[in-house]
């Protein structure tokens, strides 16, 4: 049982409280989803549950938090460890031992459990998570998903009544995320553990949870069952990513279609919307014809073998044109990053040829390529080193040999474009996540490249920031530039890309328009497409991908 009475918390040094007057009660065995835009207080709320606030992160706290009968303000985190287990976002940064077995033992050793109990707990935790084959493996050899499972196992070994997970899937690929979430479901279903989960990607969990709490500006602005929460459209306005099917139903309701409920899964959606599609779904969609420019990236018979002997690309041939928005998809280690690193010359072909704007990448330095190809990496923190935002953006131009006034005017233009003017004299790393991403983007685009590569920019990104970024990328493409997006995010691709290249084991498996590639697939299709696949018999086009397209068809 968790109870919060008029809880208010303000981090030391901050002027605005991170939590304002929270009153909550979470019963035993509940599965609670906490969501909302970043900076809304989700993580802060969770850290109050195991005493990291106020014992680890100092600040001013008023009100009361009681977990399993213990007053959190009086009991430090280590005393709460057997009551509340906490799993964090980055699997890398919560593991302390060298191998799996020792990792699981760590918490138990700290609590001075006898060795035979530790042995038993290790055994059962490994089995519960199905990772006994990893037992003696060094942690640095495991995948992100496996590491996250080890983190959960090491929490579970302490037999907590409550497990709190702070965005456990945001650093994982879809397969890892799926596995972690199904384990979380089992913790709740089969072991009866109370689960508090923070998550952005609602479509994967919404049907599993008993209750949704939406945090915004330090307050719990909504609290209730998933269907009730999403029945009002206001949640979308504050930037919560609504699953496409729910969005479709919300919009249909607004247009006066009478639907009495909100579907949480594709299955429910098919039942609920069958009548609507049968009666109205006959219009054909206007085909999106985009005029392509001339080829800018030409890849011919590209092979790449890493020095360790791994053949990452096998005979890849591609041609990408000006004005194209290309998504590169595929499993982890399918060769996505290896491929795009050839475009800006970070990697050179082992065999074959890569030409960008007519330049063979083997004959140019990476710096020369940087004039034409911009590359934004996943973590903006890897970009940022300068003392001010302005210097950060200017750095790229200085490298490329620009001087004085040219630099100043271009930097100004970029800061303006990305709404960073007011921060130009600030330390980039002190900005919020979304702002840091914009600085990283500005620092690459200031060179006016014709090709922009983004490597998983939306991983773990909240909905509002994601749509801002995508809007910008579309504008940039519309000016005749080329965008290459490496991603796992099917919904984003469905909405914004033109073309999808699917890689598998270092080869191009499919290459075509997003409609051809993303429709009629199983899990790989976006949610709305999986919905309409059942309605093709009524003449509904089977290549509808997004909620807006479905809406156009029906209204």
């Amino acid at each position: 049982m968790i109870r919060m009475d008029s809880l208010t918390f303000c981090y030391s040094g901050a002027s605005i409280p991170a939590l304002k007057d929270i009153n909550l009660e979470i019963g035993d065995g509940e599965f609670v989803l906490v969501t909302g835009p970043s900076g809304g207080g989700k993580s802060t709320l969770c850290r109050c549950l195991n005493g990291l606030i106020p014992h680890f992160h100092g600040g001013r706290i008023t009100g009361r938090v009681e977990v399993g009968g213990l007053d959190v303000i009086k009991h430090p985190t280590k005393e709460l460890a057997t009551t509340v287990g906490m799993v964090f976002q980055d699997p890398e940064n919560q593991l302390v031992a060298m191998d799996v077995e020792r990792e699981i033992a760590f918490g138990l050793e700290n609590l001075a459990f006898p060795r035979d109990v530790i042995a038993k707990r290790i055994e059962e935790s490994l089995d519960t998570l199905g990772i006994s084959s990893l037992r003696y493996r060094p942690l640095h050899e495991l995948s992100g998903g496996e590491k996250q499972k080890v983190a959960i196992a090491s929490i579970l070994a302490l037999h907590p009544d409550i497990v709190v997970l702070d965005e456990p899937t945001s650093e994982l690929d879809p397969k890892g995320a799926e596995e972690v979430l199904s384990i979380v479901e089992r913790l709740n279903d089969e072991l009866g553990i109370t689960v508090v989960l923070i998550e952005h990607r609602l479509d994967r969990v919404i049907h599993l949870v008993d209750r949704v709490i939406v945090m915004h500006e330090g307050r719990a602005i909504a609290d209730g069952g998933a269907r009730d929460i999403f029945d009002n459209g206001e949640i979308a306005d504050i930037g919560v990513g609504i699953p496409p099917i729910i969005k479709l139903v919300q919009k249909l309701k607004q247009k006066g279609v009478s639907l009495d409920n909100i579907p949480l899964t594709v299955k429910e959606g098919r039942v609920m919307l069958e009548k609507v599609f049968r009666e109205r779904g006959r219009k054909t969609l206007p085909q999106d014809e985009r005029v392509k420019g001339k080829p800018i990236i030409e890849i011919e018979n590209l092979w790449h073998v890493y020095p360790q002997g791994l053949t990452a690309l096998k005979n890849v041939s591609l041609r990408i044109c000006e004005g194209e928005f290309v998504a590169i998809m595929g499993r982890n280690a399918s060769g996505k990053s290896t491929l795009v690193k050839h475009v800006n010359g970070l990697l050179k072909p082992t065999k074959g040829r890569v030409r960008v704007a007519g330049i063979d990448t083997r004959e140019a330095t990476i710096a020369e390529m940087a004039q034409r190809v911009g590359y934004v990496f996943q973590n903006p923190n890897d970009h940022l080193f300068a003392d001010t935002v302005q210097e950060e953006v200017a750095f790229t131009l200085k490298n490329l040999g620009y001087r004085g006034r040219e630099i100043a005017s271009r930097v100004d233009e970029m800061l303006e474009r990305f709404n960073l003017k007011e921060y130009s004299r600030q330390y980039p790393r002190s900005l919020s996540g979304g702002e840091r991403q914009r600085v990283a983007l500005a620092s690459v685009l200031v060179a006016h490249p014709q090709v922009l590569i983004l490597d998983e920019p939306t991983r773990g990104m909240e909905y509002r920031l994601k749509s801002e970024l995508m809007q910008f990328l579309e504008e940039y493409r519309d000016r005749g530039n080329t965008v290459i997006l490496v991603t796992h995010d099917v919904e984003t691709v469905a909405e914004h890309a033109d073309r999808v290249i699917l890689l598998g084991e270092g080869r191009v498996v499919v290459d075509g328009s997003k409609r051809d590639v993303l429709s009629q697939a199983l899990l790989f299709s976006p949610q709305v497409n999986r919905l309409v696949q059942a309605f093709e018999k009524y003449g509904v086009p089977g290549d509808i991908l997004t909620a807006d397209e479905a809406l156009d068809l029906l209204i």
Binding site: L52, V96, L111, A112, P114, A119, Y136, S154, L158, A447
Partner: protein, 308 residues
């Protein structure tokens, strides 16, 4: 890339008790420092080779030794330049330094450098074997058993734990900055340093962020709990392990007594000393060499007994 880290290859050397390995490395270190005779030092180095072979770490060991070769070269050059002793002058510098005298390069100084390089090589080889075959957590456990404070030991172990992450980070950040047009090898020293800073600053800042997150996670798992900590893994001491330890002490005692008897001494200056080894010394040296080479059979013996 060849990994310089521990990898469990399951050989008899890997399975040796951590205390025995630590005792062995202490033995090699002490003997290497006691003896000056290059013959003795060479024997010490050669005695580490069978272990490399048995532990199947040849490749990794070789790349570590390649690095140590540079160090040896440095030792030889510096000794030759700095040492002013020796009677066979190969080259005399045409200037004079007050108090010091006229600097010169002598045959004896070069040979003395080589002798010390052999000493260094023996020590590095032994340490290479240790790091490649001893699980860091077992090293940690052994250190705690030897009454070193747990927290300091844990910090060391955490630092090792994050080395691979750090290496990955360096790779990514270098890619990032090169993609922004940074040219690492362009310009003078100052520009190069400034270029490296664009990699080092994000690296350090990211590590700092990581520190906080790791601390949070450790706190959540009751780290620093008042009660005495238990250790799940234990280094058991079997009769064989004790026997091996005893044997290593015998080896050490042998070495020390030889050194006390004045054996294994050697002087390079003013002229090279002779190598005449007397009957007693020859006998003792053979026994010492025999003992040194017993490490491998003992490791096999221990494995045999463990398996039975």
């Amino acid at each position: 890339m060849i990994s310089f880290r521990y990898q469990d290859k399951g050989t008899a050397i890997h399975k040796l008790n951590p205390f025995c390995k630590l005792a062995w490395i202490c033995g090699v270190l002490v003997l290497a420092l006691l003896f000056d005779n290059p013959l003795y030092l060479l024997a010490l180095f050669v005695s580490t080779l069978p272990l490399v072979w048995a532990a199947r770490v040849g490749k990794e060991w070789a790349s570590i030794m390649k690095l140590s070769l540079y160090l040896c070269l440095l030792v030889i050059v510096i000794n030759a330049l700095v040492s002013n002793q020796g009677s066979h002058v190969l080259y005399q510098f045409p200037f004079h330094i007050p108090i010091w005298g006229t600097p010169k390069i002598t045959l004896e100084a070069i040979l003395c450098g080589i002798g010390n390089a052999v000493r260094l090589t023996a020590i590095i080889s032994a340490f290479a074997i240790l790091t490649l075959t001893l699980h860091p957590d077992n090293l940690m456990l052994a250190m705690i058993k030897m009454k070193l404070p747990y927290k300091s030991v844990l910090v060391t172990s955490l630092a090792t734990r994050f080395v691979p992450t750090l290496i990955d980070d360096i790779g990514t950040i270098t890619d990032v900055q090169q993609s922004r047009g940074l040219e690492l090898n362009k310009g003078g020293l100052r520009q190069k340093i400034r270029g490296r800073m664009t990699i080092i600053i994000p690296l350090l800042s990211n590590s700092l962020d990581r520190t906080f997150q790791v601390a949070e996670a450790m706190e959540s798992r009751a780290f620093g709990n008042g009660a005495k900590r238990t250790f799940y893994n234990r280094i058991g001491m079997s009769a064989v392990d004790i026997a091996i330890l005893a044997f290593l002490f015998l080896l050490l005692a042998m070495g020390i007594s030889m050194s006390l008897l004045g054996q294994g001494e050697y002087s390079y200056y003013p002229t090279l000393g002779g190598m005449n080894i007397g009957l007693l010394e020859g006998l003792m040296l053979s026994i010492l060499a025999l003992l040194l080479f017993m490490m491998l059979p003992l490791a096999y013996l221990k494995r045999r007994i463990d398996l039975d």
